[in-house]
């Protein structure tokens, strides 16, 4: 389903249809949002929607693959803040950048994917 959504018909991703063992597309771990009980970008009963007043923008994303994600993997994710920095905007004012690092581990506790999301927000003056 994820591979379909990104328009990628590589047979390596088609295991749900063929029953063959598969690997996940490189950005598949993003779909772990489905399993986050506190996910703010999914409508949930009783949670406010839309989820933000002024949200930040997704500025950068990086992945380090310790091994490919394969069918049958059960991954757990831990998140921690990374670096933050402030940059002068070309349009004037300040932009605050903040990293959030997600580590996906398999059932043996081995790192599979390390993801880093950088969000940028305009700093209120």
């Amino acid at each position: 389903m994820f591979a379909r959504a990104i328009g990628d018909e590589n047979p390596a991703y088609q295991g749900a249809l063929t029953g063959e063992p598969v690997v996940a597309p490189p950005t598949f771990s993003w779909a772990s949002a489905h399993y986050d009980p506190e996910c703010r970008v999914r409508p949930r009963p009783g949670a406010p929607w839309p989820p933000y007043g002024k949200g930040g923008l997704h500025a950068e994303q990086s992945y380090t693959y310790h091994r490919p994600i394969r069918s049958g993997d059960v991954l757990s994710v831990t998140e921690r803040p990374g670096e933050t920095w402030v940059k002068e905007s070309r349009k004037g004012g300040k932009l605050r950048f903040a990293e959030e690092i997600s580590e996906y581990r398999d059932e043996a506790g081995e790192l599979v994917v390390t993801a880093c999301m950088t969000i940028v927000q305009r700093e209120e003056s």
Binding site: Y35, R42, A59, S62, P68
Partner: protein, 148 residues
């Protein structure tokens, strides 16, 4: 080891050399429905991507726009079609400008360095107007064999 021009690496299916490049069209005339499809697949239903009245109202956007991660996901095909689905070791991108419905995106991938059995690949994603919407780079394992 230096990674100069002509410092090629032999693989089962071909040789990867600094300066090798490929351009892949990863989406033509992006549809709102594909953005919604990606919302469903990824679990990211942020209304700036899925709710036109929200996007054009409170979010002050000309329309809904694609998730950056949809662009990154589509552009990843430039790497995996070339080097194989298990080849990526790192993949890093910067989102430069929103991608709106109707966009046609081309990914230009260029080998910048080859060292041992890994290659560094630069990625530039441009839309139908020549605007660069995303840049990035990746390191890939070339031992899986580059696809012709």
């Amino acid at each position: 080891m230096s990674a100069g021009v002509g410092n090629g690496l032999s693989t089962g299916a071909g040789t990867v050399r600094v300066g090798d490049e490929r351009t892949t069209v990863v989406v033509e005339d992006l549809k709102r429905a594909q953005i919604v499809q990606y919302a469903g697949a990824s679990g990211d239903f942020n209304p700036v991507h899925t709710d036109e009245p929200f996007a054009t109202g409170p979010a002050a956007s000309p329309s809904v726009f694609a998730h950056g991660m949809l662009t990154m996901g589509m552009a990843g095909r430039a790497l995996t079609d070339w080097f194989g689905p298990e080849a990526p070791l790192t993949y890093k991108v910067r989102f430069l400008t929103p991608v709106f419905p109707g966009s046609t995106l081309s990914v230009r991938a260029e080998v910048r360095a080859v060292e041992g059995d890994t290659a560094t690949v630069g990625l530039t994603v441009t839309d139908q107007n020549g605007v660069t919407v995303m840049t990035g780079d990746a390191t890939v394992r070339t031992s899986e064999g580059a696809r012709p």
